[in-house]
Symmetry: C2
Subunit: 452 residues, 2 copies
């Protein structure tokens, strides 16, 4: 039977080391946090200490949101079964999601994780195009499954390497990428890179099934691709017989504020062929979705082979998905994300003037990256300094983390209820810590955290 007494942090840690695969890493591995409760944008450790959560984009409408918890409980008491039976929740949910998307994206598949969604997207693309190859952005991460590690440079570079059917395009990062803010037309320049990749691949007899991209590359370093890039890429990809897959797993569901989907930042004239959803979709409940066109869905069905996902689209998952949509609407979380995100951007940019370590502040809504650099000329990633800052923030009970190939980009992607006070608090704390670090640097106590 279960232990009645809660274990101490050290006991939990010891058991975890003994029983759980060590590939499953902890935050702050040398001094991990034990969290026992959470509410809204706050998490609480076993001693009741409150942490401000700036990173959990899964607890989208706030940790343990009562409406979501209630929806789960009501449905759990009634029915939880597979999608081989008719149920209103699934069709209601598909209908609701369809209203958030361009009309063309009208067919839905429900699954349990973003990884499952991306794997299905790959299957759909290949079945529809009869092609095999995939173009991805450098440093991209699309999931933990065999098929997705193959299309995730962030992972495959450290494992078996690049498959012959995978092509890596440069990240459309106008701050530290190939073409920067001083380039006259980075949109065309980056899209032409994709065009060149396609041409080279075709010369080798290869055929493009898909361009697979996060609408805002996250692990890649909280990147905002310049508007118009997706349209131009889609043109090249479609010409090659491929499809455009927008991975909205990290960034969808209103996070960017002024749109419900991050791909919509590219402009109204852009519509992907497949959209994948995950993380925030169920506020923590294992849920995911793939939306696509009638043509692609029909090509997939034409094989006659059933797609059955045991848990996918069950009435509980769909009830939770619906409740999340309800809360986003009811609490005007998109408008809130815009307001708080704008304030956060503004105050972070004020810090940029004050602290030379802040090279760039970029973002949209509650998806923000702060690029820390060692020098203005080379924009060398301030990796150690970023780690130090994150560690000191944790000591102030603020949970923030880094991303990007240089692990130097602070990433903000908090629960959407993150408010102005929270924003003020975190920026003030960053200011304090950076000021301290600069002082220590000047007094040469800690040379490793110096920046120009």
């Amino acid at each position: 039977m279960r232990a009645v007494q809660p274990r101490s942090r050290q006991q939990t840690l010891a058991l975890r080391r003994q029983l759980v695969g060590s590939s499953c890493k902890l935050f702050f591995p040398t001094d991990p946090v034990k969290i026992t409760e959470a509410k809204g944008q706050y998490m609480y450790d076993e001693n009741g200490r409150q942490y401000l959560d700036c990173i959990n984009n899964v607890a989208h409408v706030g940790h343990c949101h009562p409406d979501v918890v209630k929806a789960a409980h009501e449905q759990n008491q009634l029915l939880n079964t597979n999608s081989r039976y008719l149920h209103d929740n699934m069709v209601d949910y598909a209908e609701r999601l369809s209203k958030t998307l361009p009309e063309k994206l009208c067919i839905f598949y429900f699954l349990n994780s973003g990884s499952e969604a991306n794997d299905l997207a790959l299957r759909l693309a290949r079945q529809y195009t009869k092609h095999q190859d995939v173009i991805v952005l450098d440093h991209a991460y699309h999931g933990h499954l065999t098929s997705l590690i193959d299309i995730s440079p962030y992972k495959f570079r450290n494992l078996e390497g690049q498959k012959e059917w995978v092509h890596v395009a440069p990240v459309p990062d106008t701050y530290r990428g190939l073409y920067r803010e001083n380039h006259e037309d980075p949109v065309t320049a980056y899209a032409d890179e994709v065009k060149n990749i396609i041409e080279h691949a075709q010369k080798r007899g290869r055929k493009i099934a898909a361009f697979f991209v996060e609408s805002l590359p996250s692990v890649g370093g909280q990147i905002i691709p310049p508007a118009g890039y997706f349209q131009k890429v889609a043109e090249h990809v479609h010409k090659a017989g491929g499809v455009f897959i927008a991975d909205e797993i990290q960034v969808g569901f209103g996070r960017v504020g002024r749109h419900f989907w991050a791909f919509q930042l590219q402009g109204e004239d852009f519509i992907p062929d497949i959209v994948t959803m995950g993380k925030p979709i169920g506020n923590g409940h294992p849920l995911a979705c793939v939306a696509t066109t009638k043509e692609i869905a029909e090509a997939f069905a034409a094989t006659g082979v059933e797609y059955f996902n045991t848990f996918g689209g069950n009435p509980v998952s769909c009830a939770i998905g619906l409740a999340v949509l309800d809360v986003i609407e009811k609490e005007h979380l998109q408008a809130h994300a815009t307001e708080v995100g704008n304030f956060l951007m503004k105050t972070l940019k004020e810090q940029q003037i004050k602290h030379p370590i802040i090279g760039d502040v970029r973002g949209c809504g509650l998806f923000i990256g702060v690029d820390l650099i060692k020098d203005q000329a080379e924009r060398t990633p301030a990796t150690a300094e970023a780690e130090e800052l994150v560690t000191r923030l944790k000591e102030k009970y603020i949970l923030l983390s880094t991303d990007g190939p240089g692990r130097n980009v602070l990433k903000f992607k908090p629960p959407m209820c993150f408010n102005m006070e929270d924003a003020k608090f975190v920026v003030e704390t960053i200011d304090q810590i950076l000021t301290d670090m600069e002082k220590e640097c000047l007094s040469q106590k800690k040379t490793t955290v110096c920046s120009t």
Copy 2:
């Protein structure tokens, strides 16, 4: 906002056809069932009609079991976050699961679906062995992901076909397989088939990473491999440097009655290297697990690459997993499965004497297959008759379905609370229907459902 009025069955069906990928099939596609509630082993349609559920092995401890629902609700109100923070539920759950397994299987990974578990098992096997090839049984199904369709003859035969790294061994089916009940040593004969496959593969320079098998092949036709087969196969596979993966997704968690895991039916001297769990593990909640040895987990971690599963091992999933284990214990469901399963086997074997269409009754606990045949000599699958029987059972509000390459094996895998009365009712109804079908056949009204 959500529809307040429930939709009619026809409305739900119309919306589903409009919005959900048609690869997602319905039971009884021409006249699907709309289920709105369920309790224990019973499901209820929109008009309150009660159906006896003989097939849902996901609702393992009974649909909407109050203890499981309560555990979910309590934890949902407290915390649902990722496994990068320490939490007692994950280590408690790993510890509890470890007590059900041989000591060697002591490292756990938590995920959201059986498919995710099998994909990780594949990654573990390949990383540990540095080999690529996989041996599977014919007609096997291991999941809906790209990597798993590759190792599922049930799927790949209808799609892109067999990959060069996949090898298919004959199903150790002593009723309609290569070596039958009259063979002097089917165990060695079937294991030698695997040995031959390994030798042939090695001659072509290929290296075996894993033998991947359901402990009781389900989609393959509710097969009970003869005891000792796994040991002999494991010997050959280990000699080739591969590992033995037991897929317990359909059949674990006490379903077979006298053991907690179906692989234990092979004998105490058999221990797989990797065990995958899914379906029943969370009574419907998306949850899955991989258990493996220290050596394999360490080889996987040695790459230094993190394995992060966003929802996997969250406190809610683990609380639910623990509650399921509690109910299995508290309600003595293993002993119950043995008792009811034995009764079901006995009464079905009585029917076998009465109805020549019943060629074989096989099973263990609440995992039972009834193999319907057109003739004794050839044991030709009675596919149409099986479909007719299942359709007529549905008209009597009994949900049963078929499996096996000939879709002629009735499969019983009900919620574990399925009781003696339920067993009596379903066997009596089968008797009635088969008697009717035989009469109709004699009066030549329906020649297609005739059997000798």
